[in-house]
């Protein structure tokens, strides 16, 4: 009943060279890869979620001081970066579409556009970080903070209240942790897309097999969504005062 030959009796020759041997059909493989990527994004939601929880707790406790610290960030740069990421999500969608339609050069173009936009984002972020270093708003021994609470500027100088520098340092700890982790994920994304661009240029992706593009796209959109929440939470506290 058990033959002594190598147990490949049920391995048919597949037309699709991308089909791995343990899957029965290409569709099963694609569905598995897609589910795998979504589950990975679940882990990312919970990973960033821990930091959002920390942020929620401290913003609740130190709302005024957080408002003061938030005003030290540049809304202009934050909004530009948000727009940059939104554009990069569009380029990703167009890249996936190009892969689905088998248009190799268009695919490579949109992948490169995504990378460029990602690098623009990182460049602006680096500029913002540099400014924080100059103003001594980086947590640690060199931290120094002497700013008013929101809405104090209109009061006579003797009555103005200043933000608690310790709580401001807490804000900046969260700022650097959250945007730093986000930036790290952007860097990984740019790296991923660089690999994809190379393989796309080599013609690896066809309408029958473009799973890596689609799944990398899911990752990129997720990183965009994290920023969609980070921007208002970090940059736009109490701005009306």
């Amino acid at each position: 009943m058990h033959n002594s030959s190598v147990a490949t009796a049920n391995h048919e020759v597949h037309d699709n060279p991308a089909l791995l041997h343990h899957f029965a059909t290409a569709e099963q493989q694609k569905d598995a890869a897609s589910l795998g990527m979504w589950l990975f994004l679940v882990t990312e939601v919970m990973f960033f979620g821990g930091m959002f929880c920390a942020y929620l707790v401290y913003r609740y406790k130190y709302f005024g001081d957080f408002g003061s610290a938030s005003q030290q960030l540049s809304i202009k740069l934050g909004a530009i970066n948000t727009a940059v990421l939104i554009c990069s999500s569009l380029t990703v969608v167009l890249a996936v579409r190009a892969a689905q339609l088998g248009k190799r050069t268009v695919l490579v173009f949109w992948l490169l556009a995504t990378i460029v936009l990602g690098l623009v984002f990182l460049g602006i972020k680096a500029d913002e970080y540099a400014e924080k270093f100059e103003k001594h708003h980086v947590p640690g021994p060199s931290f120094h903070y002497h700013e008013l609470l929101p809405g104090q500027a209109g009061l006579p100088p003797a009555d103005r209240r200043y933000a608690n520098p310790s709580h401001a340092e807490m804000y900046f700890s969260l700022y650097f942790a959250m945007t730093g982790m986000h930036a790290l994920h952007m860097i990984i994304g740019v790296g991923l897309f660089s690999f994809l661009t190379y393989f796309a240029w080599r013609g690896k992706y066809t309408p029958g097999y473009y799973t890596p593009i689609e799944n990398a796209g899911l990752y990129w959109h997720f990183v965009d969504i994290v920023w969609i929440y980070l921007f208002p939470l970090l940059y736009l506290i109490d701005r009306h005062r």
Partner: protein, 545 residues
Amino acid sequence: MATAVVETGERETYLNREYGIKSWLLTVDHKRIALLYLIGITFFFFVGGFFALLVRLELLTPAGDLVQADTYNKLFTMHGQVMVFFFLIPAIPAVLGNFLIPIMIGAKDLAFPRINLLSWYLYIIGGCLMAYTILAGGVDTGWTFYTPLSTEFLKTNVITAALAVFVSGFSSIFTGLNFIVTIHRMRAPGMTWNRLPLFVWAHYATSIIQVLGTPVVAIAIVLVALERLFHLGIFNPALGGDPLLFQHLFWFYSHPAVYIMILPGMGIVSEIVCCFSRKRVFGYQAMAMAVLGIAVVGFLVWAHHMFVAGISVYAALIFSLLSYFVAVPSAIKVFNWTATMYKGSITYQTPMIYAFGFIGLFTIGGLTGLFLACLGVDVHVTDTYFVVAHFHYIMVGGTIMAYMGGMHFWWPKISGKLYPEFWGKLSAMIVFIGFNLTFFPQFILGYMGMPRRYWDYSKAPEFQILNVLSTAGASVLAVGYLMPMIYFLWSMRYGKPAPDNPWNAAGLEWMIPSPPSTFNFDEQPVVTWEAYNYDEIKEEVPVAQ
């Protein structure tokens, strides 16, 4: 493709298909990866056990006379970290789960075989980091890494320990992710959800916990490392930080983590109890829903580890109530195993002895958990040996018993050899006796007020007699664990060859040869029968082994 070395007449199996270290270190066969994990977790079990031995030696006498206080802190920390992260969390899923899940569902491999291998390498890298931490002098935060001790005041190797846990956490995440996709997408035709073995259901629930919970402890320890390295002040009281925030993030994972440790064991017990009672499980749907219920409700109870830490009393009330709820699905499982055995034809092979041990000891451990969920009791016994006894009843009396039972049950399938049944039974009895001698006195000690993590109890010398009993028990337990190591290894060379189905058990894994061939099945099976169809299997369990 590498050439298969198959001697004339010898059947090709996953073990003899290729030889050489490269064929093992670069394998993507889930069965070989399971064995790679087996080596790793067995090694770390002995490392963790070694630290336990030193702890128990120190506690033989009331005075702190074996080691310094700081050293003692390192001993119990390393015991905890190694045992939790490098033995208990991976053991059953990565060894038995990896080996059996594809076979049980009728698949050729897991959904992502290369990620499976990556999981093992991450485990090994994490293990090397932990080994480095130990050799560099250890860490003394307790396995719980509480701030601000871990962020502000310690000079020991907190960051390398945190990194070790972080890396091995990703091993756990990828294993869970792999299992979920496999169970959803790779089931053979006819293998519906309602026909899955409860072992598979249990690992499915476990995997959900791994995917949802592990990232939160990952970010918690990343933040600890960032605080140490870059002075981010997120848990720093001087900046207005709350040390309890770390505890919230830590326990959000670490409570569900205990369900990662127990659920796979429950899956094993279901398989064993049905086989050795020759009966279908009582209440299949309830058993499947119960493991999912444990997984979900297990995420709602974490702050019961923080009742005396300074949380608000209103939060404590909520978490206490929720903790009572989580006991319900566990109790359902105990009732259903009992009902399965009722009017069954019970035989007492080694796996069944371990299963009986599990059911009894898990029940005691679980009940004492309910005592701890009661706020009034918890205030009295928290941070005493009562808690230590509670969780060892579950993790050792529960998980390790189930693990040993599972290893004996499936050993013939994995190795193609039979272990010696007499020595198996004897070891099981020694483990049971040693376990109770070690940990039952600790319930009494805790109730009498002996604190945990104390290296010196000379102010209360009346605690000594119970501590001596506990240490004696630990020695007996150690013997009980060493014996299977010896006879399993012995059986690989000298054991009788195992038939396909030495237990006449139900399940796809018993319909293929022992050991299996590399791709598990010659042809894709089509399942037309329900799980645990013991009413259709006429043969009894063979008695003489």
